[in-house]
């Protein structure tokens, strides 16, 4: 693939809009598929985006998600100005959750969001400050194979 300029798509994510949650992930998946990216990489990128999107919808008070497509990698950056994560190590543990019950009733909020993002990405950096917000950056390499 020859991309002189990296392809960047950025989308707004609205707070508590559960009907729209996942739209960005679907769009990114479609875009990657139309670029000829393998089904596995499309799926991994869309899951990372979807979980990050859900986090912004549930916890972040809204924000944005961007996908950058370069020759060798796909980068997802999810940003919000929400309450931040008090203890990132704890939030990375499977099953740890601060989500309210109505989120759990939708099939989310069981403390699998960040672990899933880590599982499906090759690199993950979470920059968060209590009271200021969170920026999550996940990188998926095109030659990283199945995860």
């Amino acid at each position: 693939m020859s991309l002189n300029e990296p392809l960047v798509i950025e989308r707004e994510v609205k707070p508590l809009d559960f009907l729209a949650a996942g739209e960005t992930a679907s769009e990114f998946k479609d875009t990657l598929r139309s670029l000829g990216i393998s089904a596995d990489l499309c799926r991994r990128t869309s899951i990372v985006t979807y979980e990050a999107e859900m986090n912004i919808v549930i916890h972040g008070g809204g924000g944005s998600i961007a996908m950058k497509m370069e020759e060798d990698k796909i980068t997802i950056v999810a940003s919000d100005e929400g309450p931040g994560i008090e203890n990132v190590e704890l939030a990375m543990q499977e099953g740890y959750s601060t989500a309210p019950d109505f989120i759990r009733e939708m099939g989310f909020g069981a403390g699998m969001g960040l672990p899933n993002i880590k599982k499906y990405s090759d690199e993950l950096v979470i920059d968060t400050k209590p009271g200021k917000g969170t920026t999550l950056k996940a990188v998926i390499y095109l030659d990283s194979g199945e995860a």
């Binding site: 799926r43 099939g107 069981a110 699998m112």
Partner: protein, 120 residues
């Protein structure tokens, strides 16, 4: 196993006639926790769930799941139906419980989708 045979076995109704009921399904994943579906289910597996919100369709679409079975007599709301139509994912509605649904499908030869190991 062909989706229309699964429908007969589960005494299920299709939500609409849209979608391909001749697809062949070999494995399934049953859960009401979408994050676990995202973490563990493999593409091509049938989704069995008792949740009916719009995120079920999103999840099935992300994992490239060919169809969804709604158990316990649950009927999805309009927005779920609409989105499923957009993605072309067939829905089956059965009054059976999740346990019975899984049992019948297993007996008929459907197997768990290969899951990546969580621990160790």
């Amino acid at each position: 196993m062909i989706l229309s045979d699964i429908m007969a076995l589960l005494e299920a109704e299709p939500l609409s006639q849209k979608g391909d009921f001749s697809i062949d399904v070999e494995c399934a994943f049953a859960s009401d926790l979408m994050s676990d579906v995202l973490a563990l289910a493999q593409p091509g597996s049938l989704l069995i769930t008792g949740l009916v919100n719009v995120q079920i369709v999103r999840t099935a679409s992300m994992i490239d799941m060919p169809a969804v079975v709604f158990v316990r007599g649950k009927k999805p709301p309009e927005e779920t139906i609409e989105l499923a139509g957009k993605f072309g994912i067939p829905f089956l509605l059965t009054a059976k419980t999740m346990f019975e649904t899984c049992g019948l499908l297993y007996q008929a030869g459907i197997r768990p989708c290969p899951c990546s190991k969580r621990w160790g």
